[in-house]
Symmetry: C2
Subunit: 777 residues, 2 copies
């Protein structure tokens, strides 16, 4: 270093050291200060948001830095600047950096929390969004749409952000290509932590979408690398690729119920990603549609999903498809991928009258498929002569109907440094390995914002006793904590003159033989509100004190939208004498609510004017529905005027999986005969995706009515006895399985109030070898 | 006065004057103080609530006074003690007086704001509720039920209360007879002011109910005297009498859209009441069902209601009726009543297969029926041989098909001191007069609480200019006042990136020839919230910037319940290019919302994927619906994929009147052909009560589909032209009128975008003699 250079450096140091505002230059405390400062800002400057909660702060960060001297918007201290209420951020200009903002406790009034543009014309280029957090920043209306991050412009980097808990309608992050200025964009999306996104129950729950069907044939040229997708289960498409020339590398998909889907656009590279299913239901891998797709070096383990959410899915296409339907698979390569204990790989999936074009000039080679329990994981839905199968390796005991291109090998699984089971065999030439660039929970997101779950389970809290009496349950709930268990007096009588609002997970149960009884004077005993889940055990509900109006229910969801999914468990309860007026239901839900699970077991229902569960409130027919898993086992239902269950999923959307239904070992005795039962059925099912109805007895009851419309539902109606009951009615255009629908009169055991099938071979046994109807304990 | 008496009096005076707490003895400031004081209270004492707002105060006033020394709960100053939030009051014990409490700004969490019992067992007797106010104290959930006053026990008086603005489900005041202790009760309900109760749009909007069908044959023996019912329009039954031996005297019904209904129970006396309709739609009088009813000396003027809300209605009954259906009319007298300019008097109303029993051994005599415009106001729906008609007087030009018991008289109307028009004639023997005890707005309620309306009309405020640009409308609305008119720039472009929330009445209009254009990026441009009403004039809406999701709409109601009815007017507007995704509606409403009026006139709709108005959200089939009056006139509708209108009123309830529908002089050109149009119709109408579809042109369109189920709807489909369109489809079991449904191809005037009928007699003219389709201005 020459002396005058040294001198200059020292001078600079002096100037910087003694500048008056070195500690936090350009610290701003209000939106007005921010806007004023922004007018003076120069390349190289930072604007620093002061610690604290910024409520309803709509920030427009519009400026122009240079490549050497970007302009930065950041925070006084990481994690201490919270944008809440109706806050959002727009970025417009060149060479901008945004770092450290946390959005929580609110939602955007616009269609994006953070947008890389001010308007269609004023966009951001060469800019970076890093270490920002968007956490549960949801519009309280589940069905009102917004995005969290919309990326426009070119050469932007979105990295190390923490983005968790989106629950309302709308993709979490999109890359928009609606103007020329946003195409061939060279964006990099890397090292982001995409935290849990629960099942949305409709289309519009994607986590990342690049492009739209309107611009499917435009090049996006976006790199999506080393991002961690942690249970991003919104819908079927975790990633929805809808443009050309994108790359997905080294991303980890942890227990995601869906797939990386090449929905539209060509020349995608999907390379070196890891999919970990842990045998959770509906976990999927990669789905290929369109042309010239390359899927290589991906590792999949423990994925159980089927049909469109298989571990690997190559779809059929529509001949001469318009861009918004299914372009056939052509010239695509699926090579050197590894599947360990994955249940389903499909070729020609979705084959139907419209999607009649099988894949062409494509290749599936060098893949390793190992499954310890399922012999044949392949489903061939159409002609596979257009796919070349080469050098694929199966485990020792595995098989496939595909005639060429597979050989068996003795495979041993060896744990690698990440704990993943790597297949090894003398027949595997190039060792399977996971890239060190693979995303982990640790190397994504930010270090200063916790990735811990804050979900509190039912029955995880303390036990609280509630004395019998008037509104004692109402009072005890007010002081309860999430997860608490409220114990009712054995044989006690509880009158509710106010509805008990459940806004956190709570259990109510009677300890002891004689159930406590709950009567209620309001239109509902319990109202599940946002954040609530409910478990009821060993309680008797009596409707004789309820108001003389149509539409009472024992349990109701909030009438307003619930952003959180809820759970409801009913075990060993009794519901009776709910006939003060018509349409008295046990469970009544509202539009804009969604249950992960509703389970009703070992309970009895007697003399009720409505339904047990009326889950038919999403009537817009856009694919929405009210429950994912509905389970009904071992219940005795007598004199129920409405349909026992009304389950409705309208529309023809294929981006969700549910509802799933199990109805097993129940007795339906005189069910569905009320004049107000508009479905004229004992069970009314519309558009349900998985139906398992078995080992039940229907006596003097209306029919099961199933309308099967979309999604190749799995429908099994097996080993049920009908006695003086209407026969199964099926409409729609999907397949189903019905077997052993016996028309017999079972014996009726008056004293114990359940029905018995006999041992006569004619009358039949359940699929499990047990008697039909209630299982005797 | 003896000297020592004087001395004693002076002593008393001294003691009272110098007692430390003479000013306000027993003043309490909190619920805890109230409860503590209550424990010490002695007959003759008062407990005085301190001035201020009492939030969430649930008061139980349980005590025992004596007939000479009642115990009083009152307030420091009248009108200055407000019970708000989740407050309520229960009264239990003997000889209690409650005076001066005001309930507003909240709602009760229980099923009653004020109840004359603590529990089923602990009731109030010999007690009085006076000068209390319940004002707009509504549960925000329109469909959650409560009562405002529930009266139990015996010998209670409810007088001079002010009870106004109930809007949620549930009768305003009930007399309960569910235990023996509440029957033959000798209650007096007098001089109460029942202020406006808007149309509820379902059953459950009664203002006063005595008894229930379950106790219909019990004696109530309640006197309802000198109460003022001011536009209590909740539903069909203003008063629902459901027990025996009640008396209704000197009550005034001012512009009430419904009737005093003897729904159940016998031996009712209805004497000397006044019904003033002022020719408002659906205003009614008295409806007789059951046995031994006496209806005398009532005065009716300007009542226009028909069918069950006629000025006078004698129903048919069900032979051997169960108590909750219609007990036939027997031994009833309807004498000396006066009807001035009332439009409908019915005998045998509701006659159908079930209600087949005509009235018997009854009498209609000495009544005066005068109508200046309608010649015959009588409707005879069944056999009237069981009714003796005697000495009734008709106006000079009136007539009836009833053969005996009527004579014409030259009648002159003379104003009495109340301004009511009294018929006088030489043939009228006993002069018609109104009792001086009749209720007036002045002699009912309290003097210290205003009865003024606080409704603010559309277009009653100031004019505000809104500049073209982004979110300028959003900003201007924030500073607007109810009734304001927001003026848009001629030809200006307005982009909304946030939905404009309308929570008070507002008008938006372009002044000048060229419409301003509104584009919007959210799922809706305008969201009508509780308290809002909207008028749009001369504006163009364009859907090309709206999100790529199913379910957008230009106007949406709040997704949460709206307790206030709203109005929507669209005049001379344009809606176009709303096809970004399916089911894009112009108006999308939510369950739990109700419009008084929706009027769409002189507007155009072009290239839209959904419906113009989707008013089909009340799917519980309990009689609820979404709009009272729907008017659609002189609109051009082109390429609309959904049904133009979806209007649904499920269930078989007869306690409401609407919806009312007018569809006139519109052109439907290629309407209803979308694959997602589940109704497969251009207009889908279900359970609508009045349908008037005339002078329209349907070209290349789906059908009008009407399902007619209940209420003897008035259905006219007249003088419409169908060109390559599906024909009218009618289902259900009700009558309708269809005439002049011409199947012709009208000329199509491309340039001016409307269709012309020709002058050819074959092709027809409208019912008004004008061309079909759009009226040229």
């Amino acid at each position: 270093m020459k002396p005058h250079h040294l001198l200059f450096s020292l001078l600079c140091l002096l100037i910087f050291s003694f500048a008056p505002n070195t500690t936090t230059p350009n610290l701003v405390h209000t939106v007005e200060e921010f806007e004023a400062k922004l007018k003076q800002v120069q390349p190289g400057d930072s604007i620093v948001l002061a610690n604290g909660v910024w409520t309803d702060a709509e920030l427009l960060f519009e400026a122009n830095g240079t490549s050497e001297k970007p302009i930065t918007l950041t925070v006084e201290e990481m994690g201490k600047v919270i944008l809440s209420g109706e806050s959002n951020l727009r970025i417009a200009g060149d060479h901008l950096i945004v770092k450290g903002l946390v959005f929580k406790n609110g939602y955007t009034p616009t269609n994006a929390v953070i947008s890389f543009r001010k308007s269609r014309e004023k966009i951001a280029n060469n800019s970076r969004l890093t270490e920002c957090v968007i956490d549960n920043y949801n519009n309280p209306e589940r069905q009102v749409q917004d995005y969290w991050i919309t990326i426009y412009g070119k050469n932007n980097r979105i990295d190390h952000n923490h983005i968790a808990g989106k629950k309302n309608l709308g993709v979490t992050m999109i890359v928009g290509l609606d103007t020329e200025e946003s195409r061939d964009n060279n964006h990099k999306i890397d090292h982001n932590y995409f935290g849990p996104r629960p099942t949305y129950g409709n289309n519009g729950g994607e986590t990342l979408r690049i492009g739209t069907s309107h611009h499917a044939l435009e090049k996006s040229n976006t790199l999506v690398e080393s991002n961690y997708f942690d249970r991003t289960n919104g819908e079927h498409e975790i990633i929805s690729n809808k443009a050309c020339n994108n790359t997905f590398k080294y991303n980890t998909f942890f227990e995601c119920t869906g797939t990386l889907t090449m929905r539209h656009g060509n020349e995608t590279l999907v390379d070196g990603n890891v999919f970990i299913g842990n045998n959770k239901p509906s976990t999927g891998g990669i789905r290929v549609i369109n042309e010239s797709q390359t899927v290589i070096n991906n590792y999949h383990i423990g994925l159980t999903g089927y049909r469109f959410r298989g571990a690997f899915v190559m779809m059929n296409g529509v001949p001469n498809s318009p861009p918004n339907r299914y372009v056939p698979v052509i010239d695509s390569k699926v090579n050197n991928n590894t599947f360990v204990n994955c249940d389903n790989i499909l070729f020609g999936a979705g084959s139907d009258a419209e999607r009649s074009q099988a894949p062409k000039t494509s290749e599936f080679s060098g893949n390793i498929i190992y499954n310890e329990t399922k012999k044949d994981v392949f489903t061939i839905d159409d002609d596979i002569s257009g796919i070349t199968f080469k050098n694929n390796i199966l485990g020792e005991n595995s098989e496939t109907t595909i005639e060429e291109g597979f050989k068996n090998a003795k495979i041993k699984l060896v744990k690698d440094e990440n704990g993943l089971l790597i297949p090894t065999s003398s027949k595997i030439k190039s060792k399977v390995s996971i890239s060190p660039k693979i995303a982990t929970k640790e190397n994504t997101g930010t270090s200063w914002y916790s990735k811990a779950d804050n979900y509190i389970a039912l029955n995880s809290g303390n036990t609280i006793k509630a004395n019998a009496g008037i509104n004692t349950l109402y009072e005890v709930v007010k002081v309860s904590k999430p997860g608490d268990i409220i114990i009712l007096e054995e044989g006690g009588t509880y009158l509710l003159t106010k509805a008990v609002k459940i806004d956190h997970p709570l259990t109510f149960k009677t300890n002891g033989e004689e159930k406590a009884t709950i009567l209620f004077e309001r239109m509902m005993a319990f109202e599940i509100q946002n954040g609530g889940s409910l478990s009821l055990e060993n309680i008797s509900f009596n409707g004789t004190k309820s108001p003389d109006y149509a539409g009472n229910s024992v349990i109701s969801t909030s009438k307003t939208s619930m952003i959180d999914n809820y759970k409801l468990f009913i075990e060993n309860c009794e519901f009776k004498d709910m006939v003060v007026n018509h349409s008295f239901d046990v469970l009544r839900v509202s539009k804009g609510t969604f249950a992960d699970t509703i389970s009703i077991k070992n309970s009895s229902f007697k003399n009720i004017s409505g339904s047990i569960a009326a889950l038919d409130k999403e009537t817009d027919d856009i694919g929405a529905y009210n429950v994912e898993y509905f389970i009904m086992k071992n219940n005795a239902i007598n004199d129920l005027q409405g349909a026992a269950l009304r389950l409705y999923r309208g529309g023809k959307d294929e981006s969700t999986f549910g509802p799933f239904l199990e109805v097993e070992h129940n007795v339906f005795d005189h069910v569905g005969y009320g004049k107000k039962n508009k479905y004229d059925a004992a069970l009314s099912l519309y558009g349900v995706q998985e139906i398992d109805i078995k080992n039940n007895i229907f006596k003097d009851s209306k029919a099961i009515n199933m309308h099967l419309v979309v999604g190749e539902p799995i429908v099994k109606v097996l080993n049920n006895a009908l006695s003086n009951s209407e026969k199964l009615i099926v409409t729609g255009d999907q397949k189903y399985e019905v077997d052993n629908q016996w028309e017999v009169a079972p014996e009726f055991d008056e004293s114990s109030n359940y029905l018995l099938s006999t041992d006569s071979p004619l009358k039949g046994k359940g699929t499990d070898g047990k008697d039909l109807g209630l299982i005797k304990n």
